[in-house]
Amino acid sequence: MVSKKEIVFDIKEQGVLVSRALKNDLLIEAIRHCAKALKILRSSHIPLPLYFEFYTLIDEKCLSVLSRYLTEAQKTNKVDLNEVYTIIQYTGNILPRLYLLITVGKCFLKSNPEYRIEILKDLAEMTRGEQDPIRGIFLRYYISNNITPVFLTEEFKEVDLSFKCDFIMTNFIECNKLWIRLQFQGFLKERIQHIKDREHIRAIIGLQLLQLSNVLNSDIEKYKSDILPVLNQQLIKCNDVMAQKYIFQVILEVFPVSFHLDTIESLLETTLLLNHDLSISEIVDYLIGRINKGIEKFNIQLIEYTKVFWDYLNELNKKIPSLPLSDFIPLLNNIMDISVDEEKVDNINGYFELLYKKLKGSNVEIGKEEHKLLFDFLIFSNLKRVKCNEKFYFKVLTSSSKWYYDLLQLQPREIKGQIIGTLLSNVVNSNSQLTISSSSQVESLLKISKIMLDDSEGNYIDAAKDIIPKVINFIFMSFKSGTFNNSFEITLKIKNWIYDSNHDFIVNVYPSIINQLWKLVRVCQVIERKYSSNADFCQHYNNLSKQLFRHISRCLGDILMVAKEDDKDSIEMAYKLYLNTATLADQFMLVDISNDFFLQAFELLEEKIINKSFDQISLLKVLIQSLQKTKSLNNEDKVYEDLAIRCVVDASKLLKKQTQSCAISSCSYLWWCKSVTIMSSDKIKSNNKFFKDGKRILECLQKSLRLADSVMDNIMSSQIMLEILEICLYYYDTDEKNETHIGFNYINQLISLIQNTIQSLELEMTTTQFANVERNGELGADKIGLWVMGIGNSYIPITSINDVNSSDDVNNNNKHIDHNNIKPVKELSIQDKIYIPISQFTRILKYIESQKQTNKSYNSINI
């Protein structure tokens, strides 16, 4: 084979000869040299890129030169083009002959208008003789480079548009045929190369359509009646995937969008008839994308074409029932994207129905990929027009779409869960204002959410546990229907829904239901008070609120029923909810109810909390606080007193001495009710007789002190005593009438008692300090005292940032400081532990000192 270099040289040489011959007006000789150069293009062994290079070079060096000469010579009548045209006919080889004919023909067109139609017809006819794909395509490329541009010139204006179009169209059709044929040339093993080659030169085919579009200008009628039908027919007839795809895209690209809008049905219809290996969705996607891109200036939206696309989908299902899911789903998605956005979801159900039926239909294989597609479809991840996902999801979820639900049910468990989880979490975490306005929306939301609950295998139980309470909350937050009854109904509905669906969720969801019930109670009360003049009305709402409390009670009962013995959190929660409810009831002077809830709390405390490893102190303190705050219970029936006593009894039932001691000392507050600032709106006649019983207080404190003293751990003991001291100081401070019998004597005694303990601690402190000094070689005194006691045997560091920065040496404490976290007692050093009561004591003493200046009564306290 001849090397590229030689061929290039050869072409250039011929080029020089052509130029030289023309300089001497030796036209025939020039033509001969052109033909000689063109013979190179006859070879079938040139790789495509090289072929293109040679083609370009020959065009540049020979044909263009010839063409220029002829144009010039024609002007001066030096040559008779007619004659030249005939002479060329004798060129023995067809390819050079055709190239030359085109070259001469081009000049002919410009100079001899009377012949041009004939010439064009002749060229169109004769080029059929070239049937080799590559050579043919390049030949036709030459036509579109040389002949077609002439159509756009002034001289060609009066030429019939149809004729021009037909000419280009013929060139296009033939070109396309050759392009496809290229695929089937040679051996099978060259297939990949052929595909590559085809990709390389496809622009030549596209160029024809571009020219067609240019010539056509804006003649849409022509396009509709003559051009598009032929193009469509070509597309369908050629049945080649690559060609169909490319040409379809080119059609969309080169013709204006206004054309497409007018012919959208016809375009869509064509897609149904294309090769089934071609992805319809891709094509339609392209169509939609193209139209969308250009549509803005027409002041229309594609959404107006919803019906067209809808009909198309139905037609598609009828005509190609075997369309694979991998194609169908994206297609559906694309079309859905046109007609749907977050504001407009009404017609979305149709799509779901279509998909459902498709999935239900026979021969549908769902593999991994299809599942992925379905997933994406069902979470609407590819809807470009949906700007606000949450809003859209919300609308879908609440639109009571049977088909969407059915579709979900067709999915495998884990996908199902994932989809709903995604949608729900988007909705509930949304920032936008989503409003539920009817109970049917709630129902639909619940129906879909139920899928999350029906997870028997526990694939997404965690996600469900996280999301379902949020959903419920969301419903409560967004349900704005106005009437009390509606809210009540919804709340109960949700409650029953959870109860019926999956008991595992009761613990997670009921708190928010209870909360909602509380709210309703408040509403009831507000209404009741507002219409207090209307007795019947009041009675009605009074009854209602009682009913509500019953429901709350039942809810709590359910929680306890499903809570396992060792489920501390649930029990604690139920306990606190009882107390809160009791408080609420108390606020509305519903004594019996409040009492009842307190009793339930006690029951719970006694049965499940005492004797178990709960943080009993804090739980008890909550109880004490709730109880202490009540206003309505202190009535003739001595409800309050009973409860208070029960509280003390329970406190003394606690296992450890120190907890007992703490608890009992806290209980003392129960007999020291002070007026709590009541919300001004509450018009409850507050019972001014606050429950106070100094004797009881003293009893409690004494008992507590005794217990504290008997605690063997001296640090612990001193801490408890300090606490008691603080309580005593409180009473001392607030008790003007000396009802509590806690006088300065008592306090003095207590202080000296504590001092004793503290002294022994200080002694220990110095020894450990020395030990520390010995170990670290320095005095660590200023490093201690960084902790105070927290709740439940934990310690909180109180270091300031300064301290952290200054202590740059590696000290034991540093670690704790750095973390700045609450630490369990065991992680503290002895030194720190000891220092805690010491420093606390010092602080208390300081406080007393400072109080002395303002409060004379403090003067009696000796330090």
């Binding site: 006919q89 023995g92 080889n93 067809i94 004769m126 050579r135």
Partner: protein, 345 residues
């Protein structure tokens, strides 16, 4: 030999206004060893008078006695000797390899009676309105040649000189049609053993020329094409137009050519020597078409040197259009169809 024994007289034949006549380049007689380029011969047509001037030159100072000078116009069909028609009446022919088999024209008249020649002398001659029934032809085995022969008769050997000229027979379409019809009829009659058919072709002889050649050929399961030439009778200036329609192609076609083959068959019997020569080879298609493609044929003939069809007792010149398909392995598939070519004004 002539160098040594120069003839005593020198004869020169000139046609009237020879220089202004149209000339034709004739290739040297095939097979002749002379390295002479082709002759350029003046062209006459049927019915023209052939006139000229004969100059007989005598060498300086010599007197040549003669028995008379005569001029002859000869039209002759010459066959290659090897063709072996040892007919009795064989004449001398121009081509040394060939000999005349029939002199269909031989007209002689005396230019001068017997006498002496002592100086150069010119004699005009004229053959008036000659009817020449054949066109000049120079082929491989057959020639049709016309020439003027001037003979100075002497005792012993005559001295003669030959001057060839070329004859074109211009026909119009009607004539050609008639001939075609006649030959057709004859062959039909032969076939039909004398049963005369009611031939309608007589009436609408127009159709003969317009009647296109249409053929449907193929190789089973491999290739099936239909082709068509718009006419079967062409003038030399015509353009052959037609088309090929591919009904089925399983061949990997490399290209397709249209050739025009001139077939010379010579001899008395039909079975005699055939010589084919390809007058035109013209590529009309490149690459391998698929079924349904139509490939146009258009071949301008005027640029080529073609021989019109001739038919006579001794030889036939027939022209065939041959459609040749060459596949990628170099195999050739072809189909020939006869066309009539005539010379028109």
């Amino acid at each position: 030999m002539n160098l040594f024994f120069k003839p005593p007289v020198d004869i020169e034949i000139l046609f009237d206004k020879e220089d202004s006549r149209k000339h034709v380049e004739v290739l040297p007689a095939s097979g002749s060893h002379s390295k002479v380029l082709g002759d350029s011969l003046p062209v006459y047509e049927d019915g023209e008078s052939i006139s000229g001037n004969v100059t007989v030159r005598v060498r300086e100072g010599k007197i040549v006695e003669h028995l008379g000078i005569k001029v002859t116009l000869i039209g002759s069909i010459d066959l290659v000797k090897a063709a072996g028609n040892s007919t009795s009446n064989s004449y001398k022919s121009i081509d040394v390899r060939k000999r005349s088999i029939e002199q269909f024209i031989c007209m002689t008249y005396d230019l001068s009676p017997a006498g002496e020649l002592n100086h150069s002398q010119s004699f005009p001659f004229k053959f008036k309105d000659m009817s020449m029934q054949f066109e000049s032809y120079r082929g491989k085995n057959v020639d049709v040649s016309y020439y003027i022969k001037v003979t100075v008769m002497k005792k012993g050997t005559d001295i003669s000189k030959i001057k060839p000229f070329w004859v074109y027979l211009y026909k119009d379409l009607e004539e050609v049609k008639k001939i075609v019809e006649q030959t057709k009829k004859m062959s039909e009659q032969k076939k039909a053993n004398g049963i005369k058919k009611n031939d309608k072709d007589d009436k609408n002889s127009d159709s003969i020329e317009k009647k296109p050649i249409k053929l449907d050929i193929g190789i089973e399961n491999c290739l099936h094409i239909e082709f068509e030439y718009t006419k079967s009778i062409f003038s030399l200036k015509d353009v052959i137009v037609g088309r090929i329609y591919f009904l089925l192609t399983r061949l990997k076609i490399k290209h397709m050519e249209l050739s025009l083959i001139t077939r010379e068959s010579s001899g008395l019997q039909q079975s005699n020597t055939l010589v084919d020569s390809t007058a035109i080879r013209y590529e009309i298609m490149d690459g391998s078409p698929v079924k349904g493609e139509t490939i146009p044929i258009r071949l301008f003939m005027s640029g080529y040197d073609l021989t019109p069809s001739i038919s006579c007792n001794y030889f036939d010149i027939k022209n065939y259009l041959s459609l040749v398909i060459i596949d990628e392995d170099g195999r050739r598939y072809f189909k020939q169809s006869e066309i009539k070519i005539y010379r028109s004004k």
